[in-house]
Structure formats: C-alpha cells, structure tokens
Symmetry: C2
Subunit: 243 residues, 2 copies
C-alpha cells in the first residue's frame, strides 16, 4: 500500500525490477525511516523526457502531491521538513551540516572508488539505449574505457577498502555511523552497498571487515526491505564468495 | 594569564616555541573555543618519562586539577563535560557521533596524506634524540625512508588535494564544516593545516582553493591565535609562494 501522493522515479535496469542507483537507495531508506511508502516507478537514463516536467535530468525524483523534488539530498530535506512528526532523519539541527559532510564524503570519495569496481557490471544490466549513454558519459568522466577502468580489480578493491577506513574506525565504538541508531548519514553510505549488491556478484568487503555487520543491520532494517530488493541473475563465477 | 589548574603538554621542535602537532592543535583550538587558557609545556617524542605519571606515551596530555587526560578526542570530551557552561564544542548530543566520524576521516585519510608531504620537514625541526625516534617509527609505519616517502612531491600534493574534496564541496554552501559557526569538527581538519604551517614552507592548497578562505577564517579566530603561532625559520626556496 503506497500513499497516493508520493511517487518516486528510480533508475532501473533492463529488468525493470532492478533498482540499483545509490542515490535512489538513499531516498528509499529515507522514506522507510520516515515510515512513508511511495509508488516507485522505473526510469531509464535515456528517458529524460519522462521527467522533463520537473526541470531535472536525473533521478531520484520525488513527487509529493504537486511538488517535484530532485537530488537525493534535497529530497531528504523535503521529507524532514514536510513530515516533522515522523522519526527525524538528521537529529537536532546541529547535526544537519555534519550529515551533509558525510554525504559529500560519500559522493566525492567512495562513489568514484565503488564505480571503478561496478561500471561494467552496471552496463550489462541496462537497456541498449542506456548502455550507449552510460558508456559515453562514464568513459568521458573517467577518461578510459569501462573495460580498462575495471581491469585492475585487486587495486580497485584495495582502494575502496582503504577509503572506507573512517567508517571502519567509527564502527569500533558504535553500531551506526550516526550513533546508537541509524540515520541519514548511514543511508548515504549504505546506498553504495546497495548499488554493489544490486549490480554485481562481487563481494566488496573482506570476510572479517567490521563494516559487514553494520551492512547486515541495515539490510535487515525496515522488515528487511533492502535485503529483499531484486538482484540481477548472476552466473556463478569461480572464486566468488557466493554472496 | 592561564588558569593554574590547566596544563597542556604539547609536542615541540628543537625550537621549544615550535608547536606543530595536528592533535595538539585540535586541543589548542578546543581550549580557545571554550575560552580556557592552559599552561602549555613543550614535550619531545623521547621524553616519555615526563608523562609516565599519566600512563600515556604521547601528547596531547591535559592536566585538569588532579586528572590527566590523553588523546585529543578524549580531551575534547572532557572539556565538553567539565565546562558545560562554556560554548559547546559539538552542539547537541546527536552531533557528537558525526563529529567523531569527521575526526576518523581526518586521522585515517587526511593525516597520512599530509604526512607524505611533511615528514622530512618535521624531522629537520626535531631535537637529535627525537630525530632518531621519528625516523625509525615513521619509516616502519610507511615502509619506506623519509626521503623516498616525500620524493614524489607532485603526486603527494595531488593526493592530499583530492582527499580534501569532501571538505571543498561542503564549503560551497556553508562557511564552516560544522555549519554557520566553527566547532570541533572544523578544528579536527584545521589541526592538519597548522601541522603544515608550523613545519613547512610548502603551500599545500592551490591559490584558488575555496578551502583557503576557510583556513583564513580559522587562522583569524580567537584573536588570531593560530596565525601568530611560531613558525620555523625557513629559507626562501625558489618557486615557493612565500607563504
């Protein structure tokens, strides 16, 4: 049952059930945190005309009654302001700028590191028109072919795991990045892990990484919403840990 | 005039006025934020016996009446709890875990990146006994000689500037990392810039980096306390910007 007034446009693969965008996952978790259920519509990179009414070119886009809001950070602000009686995404106002900083850390540092692992897996899951768009835009951004970007697998994994060091240290002393309970700062990072989970058979964490326990707690949150998300059909690959 | 009950042990160079430790600068800024003035004693790496009464092996160490507290993060907690009527270092309780995360980001990501630029400059400023200790411990930690660590200057600067991307993005929309006014999260990062300023003639930011304006604001804070800190005598080097 969704609330008729809320519609979320989410990036989808050729399999329309496959919703893998890290930014859309930030919004999914934020809606769940607020106890809100939206009608979630699949959207492809090349369907810009379908969201043209919003003036935006990328998703997530949230329609809330007569308003369209784009950008996952702006959507989180909107939800916090429009649903003040629901559980807070940020805690007191003083925590908002620091949550913004965590989001910047995720987007500037972790997202490019994770992209170097996933780009070719993502490409494989898109509709043909999106594949053309995705390859051209990402190869321009990274200055290399998708194949060359993902080729140094061990280096790319090492770099991601190193980049996660601040989270790993934080989780030594508390169960969530934001403290005793999860908040939007956690969802910002978790979105990246959903991006990996919903596109790739590769396990990005080592088996003994304390971040794994945190990820499991968030996979289980909200009735296991994230854990039950559609994942691509992935052939077994030798050496994979079968996650 | 210091308050007789507060004593801060700070790392010093061969020039005892030279106080450059990033962690000690976190504490200096925290004391100033609280409007507290401590008696600041110079300490060298190899003077472990002088702080043995604390059970600690590194500085900062703060003595507050009959208590000795080590570790800059623990000192910040102590100041917040012991001086609740002074300006808060963290804002509401919900901001504390997020400030801890910023501190983890600084120590796990920025500090090693900055160290690769400064290690040899620091070594030059120490007393001979500390030079031996410093070279052995840092070469073991980084797995290379000090000279080899700092040799790829351009790469090291590029890596540091890239690592600062989350701060740069954050400062697009607000004057301080923590929001409209500075807080301990800002001082955690600023300590690294004081480390550079008090040990090296190298300018680590490019001239057009928006982080520079933020650094200037903090250099000017508390009556210009940080700007007036002793810097080493550094010979003019061609190509340096003369900072």
């Amino acid at each position: 049952m969704h609330e008729a007034r809320l519609t979320l446009y989410e990036l989808a693969g050729a399999d329309l059930e496959l919703r893998f965008s890290p930014h859309c996952w930030k919004t999914r978790m934020a809606l769940a945190h607020k106890g809100l259920v939206a009608r979630c519509l699949p959207w492809h990179f090349t369907e810009k005309s379908r969201i043209a009414f919003t003036g935006l070119e990328t998703v997530p886009v949230l329609e809330d009654r007569n308003t369209a809001i784009g950008d996952s950070w702006q959507i989180a602000q909107h939800l916090e302001q429009s649903y003040p009686d629901r559980p807070s995404l940020f805690g007191p106002a003083a925590a908002l700028p620091l949550t913004a900083f965590v989001n910047q850390w995720v987007d500037a540092t972790l997202l490019p590191a994770m992209a170097r692992i996933l780009l070719l897996d993502i490409h494989r899951l898109l509709i043909p028109e999106d594949q053309t768009y995705f390859r051209a835009s990402r190869e321009a951004r990274f200055g290399a072919t998708l194949e060359d970007i993902v080729a140094p697998v061990a280096d790319n994994l090492h770099h991601l795991r190193q980049s996660l060091a601040p989270l790993r240290r934080q989780l030594r002393s508390q169960p969530y990045l934001a403290g005793a309970t999860p908040a939007y700062a956690d969802y910002c990072v978790f979105g990246l892990f959903m991006w990996a989970r919903c596109t790739s058979s590769r396990e990005v964490l080592t088996a003994d990484d304390p971040i794994d326990a945190w990820r499991n707690r968030l996979l289980d949150a909200f009735g296991g919403m994230a854990r039950s998300a559609t994942r691509p059909f992935l052939p077994c690959v030798g050496g994979d840990d079968g996650r």
